[in-house]
Subunit: 259 residues, 2 copies
């Protein structure tokens, strides 16, 4: 009989056991040739290398481990489960960095440090921005990451719901701008064309069709922003600008509590 009675109905309990490594080994049958962490690390290595999640195929992971494609399903229930395991695994990197909290760091610098850690993590593992679980990842590293992030905004005059919200919006901001950074890089490779080359091809046909008089603000502001950033968009600038606006906004909240 096949061991795969995997009816495509997701099993959170199974995933949680895989995440936390709590799974008694089977009592019979052939030895495992791999472990879950091996599979996950191999998948992460491939995802980092190919940069794009849809190039992370089960076949590729299996080949890199020297096993058949279907053997992977002995270790993970599905590709989706594998992605969830990968996500929790890379969160360990954020945890390690978050732990290195400077003595006497204030909440504002704390949020700046947290944002930087998240930004760096996203650029190291761009595929994380494409994984979307829709439900929280309940793994050990994800849980600890949240714990440490909350530590940054504890005791500064926010209530519990506000603490949660502040972490969430900073992460949302960082993920959003990191996504733009990653996509800007990706499009250069995918089109095999630098931004300059692309604009060179786009400029003339665009000029024939777009009258600046119809878009006075866009022309002026777009030109100014383009020159300031030396590119149409600057995710780095948006990162810093948005982060400082958020921090200032939180400071306003702390100074004027709604209660």
């Amino acid at each position: 009989m096949a061991a795969t009675d995997n009816n495509s109905a997701p099993d959170p309990a199974r995933t949680i056991r895989a995440l936390w490594g709590t799974q008694e080994p089977p009592r019979r049958g052939p030895r495992h040739t791999l472990t879950i962490p091996q599979v996950v690390q191999s998948a992460i290595k491939i995802a980092d290398a190919v940069q794009n999640l849809d190039r992370l195929s089960m076949r590729r992971v299996a080949e890199s481990l020297g096993v058949g494609t279907m053997s992977l399903y002995t270790y993970v229930a599905s590709r989706d489960e594998l992605l969830e395991l990968m996500l929790d695994a890379v969160n360990a990197e954020a945890v390690a960095e978050l732990r290195a909290k400077p003595e006497g760091e204030g909440w504002q610098d704390g949020l700046r440090r947290m944002a930087r850690i998240s930004w760096d993590l996203a650029l190291r593992h761009p595929w994380t921005l494409q994984v979307f679980t829709g439900r929280p990842t309940l793994g050990p590293h994800s849980t600890e990451r949240y714990e440490l992030e909350l530590g940054i905004v504890e005791g500064i005059g926010l209530d519990d719901v506000e603490m949660d919200a502040v972490i969430a919006i900073v992460q949302t901001h960082v993920e959003g701008v990191a996504r733009r950074r990653v996509e800007a890089d990706k499009v250069v490779r995918r089109t095999d064309m630098t931004d300059e080359e692309w604009w060179g091809l786009a400029y003339q046909p665009l000029a024939e069709v777009l009258d600046p008089a119809n878009f006075p603000l866009g022309s002026r502001v777009g030109t100014a922003a383009g020159q300031a950033h030396n590119a149409a968009h600057s995710p780095e600038h948006a990162y810093a600008f948005g982060l400082e606006r958020l921090i200032a906004g939180v400071a306003t909240l702390i100074a004027n509590p709604t209660r």
Copy 2:
């Protein structure tokens, strides 16, 4: 000879002509049975219905129009180009709403209105959050949308680069939280399981493995946030909270210019 000398090298000029509808019709050959807008509208209808971009296949679009799959490539250079055309097309909806600016609206209410328009658009067309061009979409509606958005923050004491940045960070925020909203809905369908059902399956195995004493802040804050929102995450709450923080942060900038 085939008309398809489409070497997979992207052609911005071609895309721009398609976006603006400036393309003299061919002088010879059989009549077109379709138009680009027909193809785009049909694709949008399908994308709205299936909610997920990877279910928008060229085959499906072709079938809905009663033509063969490959015939679509007469109208659009590639699936990517089609997505770009779709994106610009739905931006027309945002343009129409942005034009309805109330008399005497201040910049703060303007940003709130802009955010609401973007949020609604994203929920009406969730697939837009999955399209990523990496370069700006230079279509007529996208261009006009930017123009109208800039109008909201013109003359309030920001310089051009700041105006651009404020629009960008608000859009980044809205897209981020809308993405969470959409994914939360999607996961219910994909797993065929409500959040309650899922938590019911996850609770017991999680309790066996996660000791609240190791995650005191997370336990306390997570519980408080969960009860306040009646869910683990509330994109709607994050939307409003983040937007108000950003607006307050921009107000701070206006009050304390960096120049």
